[in-house]
């Protein structure tokens, strides 16, 4: 108890140091006065009494010092004094403080940014999910690669057969937007993102409701049996203001009434990054999205991610082995639909299947940003060394009058700690800006994602740790160097010495140049790779095309009214003043979705359906090919004559034409379209009227591209297939037309929800996101590194010149010309840059080997990237050295000798 009181008293003293000190002074003064009184009383003269009293009390300052040691934490007191000293020193040299804080802030901020992305994607446990470490994801791969969604019939078999998993759920991989109106008011065309899940989805994840209930076994997968929905907490808050009586209310989704069962717990979004507003039971697919109702029966089409919870004492490897065996059995039993497909099981992650590449990308970025921090630290350390050199005398004096070496190191480290603390704080603020910048670099994704890049405890801990590491990294060496000063020689003479110190400083500059060069080379490589990727012809021209997607089925358009509305809409879009050409299509190349309308073959083809390649279908209005600038190799585009009732026609891709009629003319031939029952279940005979060039669709999911079969919208419009259609407009001089089209759509039908608006370039750019992000991050940071390196070279050269001014004066006096000295100084500065460049090039060559996978076949030792970066650095270094060199060349021998 008494000990605790003492601790508290010491803390109080720490917070209010002045008070006890004043009290003590007063007490000692009173002591003296009392003693003096006593001596006077004994009969001493006043003068003598005062002296005797002072002598008897002893050293007042010593008493104070002992008192201080007793009443407070000495080391903390010292730390506070060091801190004040450090702040005072830094304020005296604001330029140094500012550049040091700024470079550290950039280094720490960049690291924090990348870490918070990694934190959000890889480390943060999903909210509202019980024991996420025991959850697994199941996907479909081919030959050990890929993690694609699986089909519903396969899911049912997996669920039934898996014994290592407690239970297996399935949810849609991408979900779909739905038009929503509340009961009685179908009107407002609001779009919500929905996801179909199995009834056990919430149970397996161990989720709890915030209101009402979640899905139960009763909300089964029987088609149409359970028209209920579960809302996400965020959606409940946004749309219904957390109405506690929400359970039991009716919502109309795509025109179909659904009862709200309940609301998921706050933050719950399943285990994946995709954001969902409402969850629907899988069995309700026919009501929500009639076009896709057949998915439930189709074993061939993959659209579901499966997941499960490991039984106790079962390892991931055991479960993976069992799933692989189930996959092989399914391939044997249903060879037509499952050929070449295998089941893969992984630990659950927020990006199922993609966590490998995402981790690789983040590791790459993390490498880039730690380089920046190292560069910043080298810069600060270099300047600190220079400052230490300038403070040599001060430190020698301190050592001479008895300061301990450890104490001095601590004081110097406090200075760096202050720098890094402020730098870390600024970095944290910078990171907030940088994260939003990074997010804005991403093209708009076709589905909403739920990634909160907030600065949580883990990020702040990371940044704090990083700042400490930075402080040690850039403070320890200069502090040790400074405190090891040789007292006698330093105090005795004023000559420049300490060549060891300037060698160390040179090493820091060389390191800075080398690491910044690596960053700039990496940027160069990525920029070149992006050029290359951009220059490969995708087969269509995405530049200058705007896409606006609408959901006509949500606004109640049927098989008859739909095509009429589409035709009128596109006619009016074509009348807009900035429209060059316009069309409507079900899908566009380069995105995620393709649609299936069954198989095609030529009449009388006996080959089994399983061997035929799968063709992608698209339903388009006339003008599709001209708007996307896809050349028609033969035949004609669809026209006004291809309407409902006229003979069904099709345009095929070159590869399809070659497949069916190798070496022959495809125009005028017939194609048989058939359904799930194979060629026997013929649904239509199509007359081929045109052949189009194949397009490269860089589909992210499987990376495959295939030939299209195009059919005219006017002939093939059914409301269940056209759950979404996209207007594409090529604008004449590049203005964005989204707002005009929005107004136009609203004026034609205010109930028609606009699902997405984006440019075709954004739509197709998804595949290049990693390269874009790395190029921009390493590019901007490489320039910062270049700047820091330039400052470093300038600093070293300028400092060297100042030190050697006398020498230059003597040289001039002895007959050296200004130009000779200029060259001499330049050569010294440039040799640092040269060594740095050489080391940097070697490092970059090593790093570029790692990057090969991201470079689209660009040789990693690209001469342009390497040569360009070196040239940039050498020119910058020359510019940085030139100023000091000029000053050296103008050395005045008179001044130098007078000083001597």
């Amino acid at each position: 108890m008494a000990g605790l009181r003492r601790l508290l008293a010491k803390l109080v003293d720490l917070l209010r140091p002045g008070r006890a000190e004043a009290d003590l002074s007063r007490e000692l003064a009173s002591h003296l006065a009392l003693l003096e009184d006593e001596l006077l009383r004994r009969g001493l003269p006043a003068e003598q009494a005062r002296r005797a009293a002072r002598l008897s009390l002893g050293g007042v300052e010593q008493v104070k010092e002992l008192h201080r040691d007793e009443r407070s934490f000495v080391w903390l007191d010292d730390a506070r004094r060091d801190l004040r000293h450090a702040v005072r020193l830094l304020r005296r040299d604001p330029l140094f403080a500012l550049t040091a804080v700024l470079s550290l802030a950039i280094g720490i901020g960049a690291n924090t940014t990348i870490f918070s992305v990694a934190n959000a994607l890889l480390f943060r446990a999903p909210a509202g999910v019980a024991d996420p470490a025991r959850l697994v994801d199941i996907g479909v791969g081919r030959q050990g690669v890929g993690f694609n969604p699986g089909s519903y019939p396969n899911y049912l078999d997996v669920r039934q057969r898996a014994t290592t998993l407690d239970s297996v759920y399935a949810s849609e991989m991408f979900g779909a937007p739905l038009g929503m109106g509340s009961a009685g008011n179908d009107g407002r065309g609001e779009v919500v993102s929905s996801r179909l899940v199995t009834a056990n989805y919430f149970t397996v994840l161990g989720a709890h409701p915030a209101a009402g209930r979640l899905f139960a076994a009763g909300d089964g997968e029987q088609p149409g049996a359970a028209p209920v929905v579960v809302l996400s907490h965020r959606f409940w808050k946004r749309r219904f203001n957390e109405d506690p009586a929400i359970a039991g209310r009716t919502l109309r989704l795509n025109g179909h009434p659904f009862t709200v069962a309940g609301v998921a717990a706050e933050g719950f979004q399943g285990t994946h990054v995709l954001e969902t507003d409402v969850w629907l039971p899988l069995g309700m697919i026919a009501a929500a999205r009639p076009s896709e109702a057949s998915l439930l029966a189709n074993r061939g089409s993959g659209w579901l991610v499966m997941g499960g919870r490991l039984k106790p004492d079962v390892s991931v490897a055991q479960a993976a082995a069992e799933l692989a065996a189930i996959g092989r059995a399914l391939e044997r039993e249903f060879p037509d639909q499952n050929r070449g497909k295998e089941l893969r099981l992984r630990e659950s992650s927020s990006i199922p299947g993609a966590s490998g590449p995402v981790t690789a990308l983040l590791a790459l970025l993390m490498g880039v940003v730690s380089l920046v921090l190292v560069i910043a630290c080298a810069n600060v350390a270099g300047v600190l060394l220079a400052r230490a050199a300038a403070r040599r005398r001060e430190i020698a004096v301190r050592l001479a009058i008895g300061a301990g070496q450890a104490r001095l190191v601590r004081q110097l480290l406090t200075e760096t700690a202050v720098l890094c603390g402020v730098g870390g704080l600024a970095g944290l603020l910078l990171a907030r800006g940088l994260t939003s910048l990074l997010v804005s670099l991403l093209p708009r994704l076709p589905f909403p994602i739920d990634v909160s890049l907030g600065l949580d405890g883990r990020v702040i801990l990371f940044t704090t740790g990083l700042s400490l590491v930075a402080a040690l990294l850039c403070g320890l060496v200069p502090a040790r160097q400074a405190s090891q000063a040789d007292v006698v020689s330093t105090l005795k003479d004023d000559s420049p010495g300490a060549s060891g110190r300037s060698r160390l400083r040179n090493a820091f500059v060389v390191a800075q140049v080398a690491f910044s060069l690596v960053l700039v080379v990496a940027t160069g490589l990525f920029v070149r790779a992006l050029r290359r990727a951009g220059s490969t012809d995708p087969g269509f021209d995405p530049r200058g095309v705007e896409l606006v997607s609408v959901d006509p089925s949500a606004a109640g358009y049927g098989d008859v009214t739909g095509p009429l509305f589409a035709r009128e809409l596109i006619e009016r879009v074509r009348e807009l003043p900035d429209t060059e050409s316009a069309t409507i299509a079900r899908v566009f190349p380069g995105g995620f979705e393709g649609i299936g309308l069954g198989g095609v073959t030529v009449p009388g083809d006996a080959r089994a359906s399983g061997e035929a390649p799968e063709w992608d279908w698209n339903i388009v209005e006339p003008g599709y090919f001209s708007t996307l600038r896809i050349p028609l190799v033969a035949g004609r585009d669809f026209g006004p004559s291809d309407r409902a009732g006229s003979p069904p026609v099709a345009i095929v891709g070159e590869a399809a034409a070659r497949h069916f009629w190798p070496g022959e003319n495809a125009i005028g031939r017939s194609l048989v379209q058939f359904g799930a029952g194979g060629p026997a279940s013929k649904t239509a005979t199509l007359l081929v009227v045109g052949v189009a060039r194949d397009v490269k669709s860089s589909r992210l999911v499987d990376g495959l591209s295939s030939s299209f079969v195009y059919v005219p919208l006017q002939q093939r419009y059914t409301s269940n297939v056209m759950s979404s259609m996209t207007i594409a407009v090529r604008t004449s001089n590049g203005p964005r037309m989204a707002a005009e089209i929005r107004r136009l759509v609203a004026s034609m039908n205010p109930n028609l929800p606009i699902v997405t608006v984006q440019t075709l370039e954004d739509y197709t750019a998804l595949g290049l996101v990693p390269q874009h992000v790395v190029a921009s991050v390493s590019g901007s940071l490489g320039l910062v590194g270049l700047l820091l390196a330039a400052i470093g070279i300038y600093g070293v050269t300028a400092h060297g010149v100042t030190r050697r001014m006398r020498e230059f004066g003597i040289r001039v006096a002895l007959g050296a010309k200004g130009a000779d000295i200029l060259v001499m100084v330049l050569r010294q500065g440039m040799s640092l840059a040269g060594i740095g460049c050489a080391i940097g090039l070697a490092l970059a060559a090593a790093v570029s080997q790692v990057l090969t996978g991201f470079l689209f076949g660009l040789p990693p030792l690209d001469p342009l990237a390497f040569g360009g970066a070196s040239a940039l650095f050498l020119v910058t270094a020359l510019a940085a050295c030139y100023g000091p060199a000029r000053r050296a060349a103008r050395a005045d021998p008179l001044v130098a000798l007078r000083y001597e």
Binding site: R5, L24, R26, L34, H67, E70
Partner: protein, 90 residues
């Protein structure tokens, strides 16, 4: 003895000691701070009879309790040392 100021304590010690015993102030003041921080004594500024201001230290309840314990411990310790020394000198 009642509340006493630091000078008074020093004077008293000097008086009690049979030899002239000058207490180093470097020992007295830190000791007082230690006791006060433990809450065993409490200092207040008062005026002496000679109209000088001085900080008077009074023993607190906790201090009295602690004094009892410490006295007990000291007696035991001193007694032990006495016994030891007696045995040695035999």
């Amino acid at each position: 003895m009642g509340p006493q100021h630091a000078y008074g304590i020093a004077a008293r010690l000097e008086q009690i000691a049979e030899h002239p015993f000058t207490l180093n102030q470097g020992t007295l003041y830190p000791a007082l701070v230690r006791l006060e921080q433990r809450g065993w004594i409490k200092g207040t500024w008062q005026t002496t009879e000679n109209r000088r201001e001085a900080k008077y230290y009074a023993i607190t309840k906790a201090g009295a309790r602690a004094l009892g314990e410490q006295t007990e411990r000291w007696r035991r310790f001193a007694g032990l040392v006495d016994k030891l020394l007696l045995n040695e000198s035999d």
